[in-house]
Amino acid sequence: MSIPANLKYAKSHEWCRLEADGTVSVGITHHAQDLLGDMVFIENPTVGRKLAAGEECAVVESVKAASDVYAPIAGEVVAANADVEASPESINQDAYAAWMFKLKPDNTADLDGLMDAATYQAFVDSESH
């Protein structure tokens, strides 16, 4: 599966999308879901929680294992996706459509510190060797 060019990526395998309203949607990458396998449980951060960049803020659990999700940038949680919580398998079906939560970023420019698609692809390739 190709890595969408319009998203930004963290080394901990989250993706970020800057929305028209200035919020940032966050999910986990296709590569991350592929490593974890069938998703069965999602725990999102509560709305209103302020997150530091790199802070543990959510959990995704597959049949196999639990994995932490980290805030790719600093910001306040403004939405949590109840649909994904109710249907964790939607992350397996389309990881880039299944956003988990939205942040109001402290600094939108922080997104520039994340990887673009090409860099993330190279990062994934290097990790799997």
Binding site: G37, V40, F41, E61, V63, A66
Partner: protein, 359 residues
């Protein structure tokens, strides 16, 4: 370097995700572990379990040796092909391994042991053999592959793939086996469904696997095997019991014969040790997933989950947990998961049998 089974190339062709399992390169799934789980509950699936080791015990006095070696009573094995699930204990009462013993005749029993314990088991059995019955031959059968065909349609599909097996294998009752040419067909499994475990020469395994594929049997990985066995309430060595736990505190009292006069290795310890812990089933009441090693808080003190997972048939999370004696069915306990305490109900297991939820 990981060991490979004779079916390794087949797994690669089928795009299996391969992982290190006790030093063996084994398929964890072929796409979706949950789909594979459901296939076995509702239709039929097959597993490469060639990493498990059959060991042939041959010679005069084989039965007497097994009377000493294992905790269950092999005198229950009276008809040809009958199988017995048992633990093999050390002197302290802890479990060296759990295994199935098949009775072929008075001078031939076949034992099937876990992959991760195989070397240790062979060494243990040889030591005991040298001490108790030096005339017996113990032969590890690494020349055999093993395929488990499991699910309500296992029999139908097996006859379709291998019509020649039907006459001898169709009458098999659960927990019995028959030799068909160079194949050994047992009506056993690790899923809680009807099915067969078939041992056959390694070089014949890819052909047999292909015939099953063509009959519509879906390959399933060790991931599904684990959720199936947990739902079926079957112990996994290394998680639910090991050398530091006795079968009596591992939910396996039903496999230990303490009634007869027979003396077996570990019996004294079992009679002497206090029975302060027990294995119970848990069903999570709150949202989350139970996992091994999570702490369990009960009315009688702390315990620990030994195996936990999401259970696809139940669409809930279940576990086996070792808790203090005195915790009763129906009690609500708390499980520490990350920074939370979630509620779980103590339930009877198996959780699922023959496709039906029991909790």
């Amino acid at each position: 370097m990981l060991k490979q089974t004779p079916l390794n190339a087949r797994h690669r062709e089928a795009n299996a995700k391969l992982v290190d399992f006790s030093g063996w390169e084994m398929p964890i799934h072929y796409g979706s572990q949950i789909e594979e789980h459901h296939i076995v509950r509702t239709d039929v699936g097959m597993f490469d379990v060639s990493h498990m080791l059959p060991v042939d015990l041959k010679g005069d006095g084989a039965r007497d040796f097994l009377r000493r070696l294992v905790a269950n009573n092999v005198d229950k094995l009276q008809s040809t092909g009958k199988a017995l699930y048992t633990c093999m204990l050390h002197e302290g009462g802890g479990v060296v391994d759990d295994l199935i013993v098949y009775f072929l005749n008075e001078s031939w029993f076949r034992l099937v042991v876990n992959a991760g314990c195989a070397d240790k088991d062979i060494a243990w059995m040889e030591t005991q053999r040298d001490r108790l019955a030096p005339g017996l031959a113990l032969t590890p059968r690494r020349d055999l592959a093993m395929i488990a065909v499991q699910g309500p349609k296992a029999a139908e599909k097996l006859w379709q793939a291998m019509p020649g097996t039907r006459d001898l294998a169709a009458p098999l009752k659960p927990f019995s086996a028959v030799v068909v040419g160079d194949m050994f067909i047992a009506r056993t499994g690790y899923t809680g469904e009807d099915g067969f475990e078939i041992m056959l020469p390694a070089k014949a395994a890819p052909f047999f696997w292909q015939a099953l594929l063509e009959a519509g049997v879906k390959p399933c990985g060790l991931g599904a095997r684990d959720t199936l066995r947990l739902e079926a309430g079957m112990n996994l060595y290394g998680q639910d019991m090991d050398a530091s736990t006795t079968p009596l505190e591992s939910g396996l009292a039903w496999t230990v014969d303490l009634k007869s006069e027979r003396d077996f290795i570990g019996k004294d310890a079992l009679l002497r040790l206090p029975r302060s812990r027990q294995l119970v089933g848990l069903k999570l009441l709150d949202r989350g997933v139970l996992r091994g090693h999570q702490k369990v808080l009960t009315s009688q003190g702390e315990g620990e989950i030994t195996s936990g997972s999401f259970a696809p048939t139940l669409n809930a999370s279940i576990a086996l947990a070792r808790v203090p004696a005195g915790v009763n069915l129906g009690e609500t306990v708390e499980v520490e998961i990350r920074d939370k305490r979630l509620r779980a109900l103590v339930v009877k297991y198996p959780f699922v049998r023959n496709g039906k939820a029991l909790v």
